[in-house]
């Protein structure tokens, strides 16, 4: 293994040596926000995505309104409302980390629901019709036949969103949570070279996003293998395109 100092600028090694503890604490908060935010976002995406294809117009409309609200308004403002307005208006108390997880979950979940909806719709109509011809209940249809096929289609889109969510956790800075961005900023203010601090941050964010992405890609390959075929690129692209439309 080559000496780190031979491939990295001297300041980087020094900064890591002096502040690794602080940086690690920041990374921990960022990872917590990513994991829990991602989990909440996934649940929100599935619920809103299923609601979007409901037979009941009311359910579809409610889902649409929620999605449009969270996609159409600023995440930062949503976060401020949760952190600064909610505790005043109600007795829920102040839980910045929890509120940040919820804001991330709702926001990215709203985007994710479009991926889920698009993927469910991309499962061929013949598959849906066959489940009806076999008299399956709605839950059985979805759980046993449609979801496993849609799952393979939605993973690329969810993967993109997860990468964005990891980077998006930096909004924690706005409410004073000591995440990676926040501790980096403090280090800069305390006199550490800005280039060095942000360079380290870049790399850590990149590695975190890469780890989540690789995990989801692993799930995708598994889901595809289960279908015995690689879902056509067109279908995957269609599902993803609907997500960003």
């Amino acid at each position: 293994m080559p000496d780190l100092s031979s491939i990295a600028p001297a300041g980087v090694v020094e900064t890591l040596q002096d502040h690794w503890h602080t940086l690690l604490d920041g990374l921990k908060v960022t990872l917590e926000l990513s994991v829990f935010g991602g989990a909440v976002a996934f649940v929100v995406a599935v619920v809103l995505g299923l609601a979007a294809i409901s037979r009941l117009a009311v359910v579809r409309t409610v889902s649409r309104i929620i999605v449009e609200f969270f996609r159409g308004t600023s995440l930062v403002v949503q976060l401020f409302v949760l952190v600064y307005v909610l505790p005043q208006a109600t007795s829920v108390g102040s839980h910045p980390l929890l509120f940040c997880v919820i804001a991330l979950g709702l926001n990215y979940g709203a985007y994710g629901s479009e991926v889920v909806r698009g993927s469910l719709n991309a499962v061929p109509p013949g598959q849906w019709e066959t489940t009806t011809a076999l008299s399956m209940s709605w839950l059985t249809k979805i759980r046993r036949v449609i979801w496993p096929q849609a799952w393979a289609l939605m993973l690329p889109g969810l993967n993109n969103l997860m990468v964005m969510l990891v980077k998006g956790t930096a909004i924690a800075l706005f409410i004073g949570l000591p995440d990676l961005t926040s501790v980096g900023d403090d280090l800069r203010k305390s006199g550490v070279d800005a280039w060095t601090v942000y360079g380290i941050s870049f790399v850590l964010y990149y590695l975190a996003a890469l780890a989540f992405s690789a995990f989801l890609r692993h799930l995708e390959v598994r889901a595809q293998r289960r279908l015995g075929i690689r879902p056509s690129k067109v279908k995957t692209a269609q599902a993803t395109a609907e997500a960003v439309a």
Partner: protein, 286 residues
């Protein structure tokens, strides 16, 4: 009323059918109920009126082939029965029970609840042109899925029955394979086994060999002949295989623009069509 094809054990014997009275009206069981009854059925897609006040009955155990030019409404009729399309007007009865709409006490037409519909729908099965096997399951899982999760059979019971069905369609050795590894003809035979596993009273077959390479058609038709000969499942089939239709069906109905313009026993229909449109149609496809 020809009883030979309605009740009793075993398959209706085609040879016993007299060439005389062709059955056009309802054929009733002891309760006076046909297996399938269409009553003033209408269906339109937007402004396109596909079916307009269609009336016909199908007796228990009867096998009826629908023929007619493309767009004449044959698929729509099957899909209405399978509840894949919604009726625009009229009623469909299965064994006298309304399928999707009923008349209330005041004689008004009301839609039934999904729960009520699903009870009647369980009596009906369908095989599609495109097989539609579930790609996330093995061959045998495709067959056991609905019996386990809809009929509540135990896994062992469902698998045992599925194995018998697979043997019956000549695929006993392919149970654990992935459906995409099967040929089209094999996939369609699995689809037939899957439909039969639900033990339907009525089986709907919509051009089930049309998507197959010619050399694979024979096996699928062979399986269906077996089913026809060994069960008394009521069948409604759309096919371009006229010899097959002639062999297995009790009655052929010729459709044009959503109307039955002629119906007869297959021999009569194919050798001596009465209607000008039927003659033209049969000439074109035979």
């Amino acid at each position: 009323m020809p009883t030979d094809k309605t009740d009793g054990a075993g398959a209706p014997d085609l040879s016993k059918q007299s060439g005389a009275a062709v059955q056009t009206g309802p054929d009733f069981d002891g309760n006076g109920r046909p297996r399938i009854a269409f009553e003033d059925v209408s269906k339109q897609f937007g402004k396109n009126v596909v079916l307009n006040d269609l009336n016909f009955n199908v007796a228990k155990g009867e096998r009826v082939t629908l023929i007619g030019p493309s767009g004449s409404g044959k698929t729509t009729i099957l899909r209405l029965l399978m509840t894949l399309e919604e009726l625009s007007g009229g009623f469909i009865y299965v064994d006298g029970d309304p399928l999707t709409h009923r008349k209330n006490d005041a004689g008004k037409r009301v839609a039934m609840k999904p729960k009520e519909i699903s009870v009647i729908r369980k009596r009906i099965g369908m095989v599609f042109q495109q097989f539609n096997l579930f790609p996330n399951m093995s061959v045998i899982e495709n067959i056991t899925e609905a019996p386990i999760h809809v009929l509540g059979q135990s896994k062992d019971e469902a698998r045992e029955k599925a194995k018998k069905l697979l043997d019956q369609v000549g695929l006993g050795d392919r149970a654990e394979e992935h459906p995409t590894r099967l040929s089209g003809g094999q996939q369609q035979r699995v689809a037939i086994a899957r439909a039969l596993a639900m033990e339907p009273e009525i089986l709907l077959l919509d051009e089930v060999t049309s998507a197959l390479d010619p050399e694979l058609v024979g096996d699928v038709l062979g399986v269906l002949r077996d089913v026809a000969n060994s069960t008394d499942i009521t069948m409604l089939l759309v096919t371009h295989e006229m010899q097959f239709a002639r062999d297995v069906s009790h009655r052929v109905m010729m459709f044009d623009a959503g109307h039955i313009i002629e119906e007869a026993e297959p021999d009569a229909m194919f050798s001596d069509p009465q209607h000008e449109r039927t003659k033209k149609f049969l000439q074109a496809i035979l």
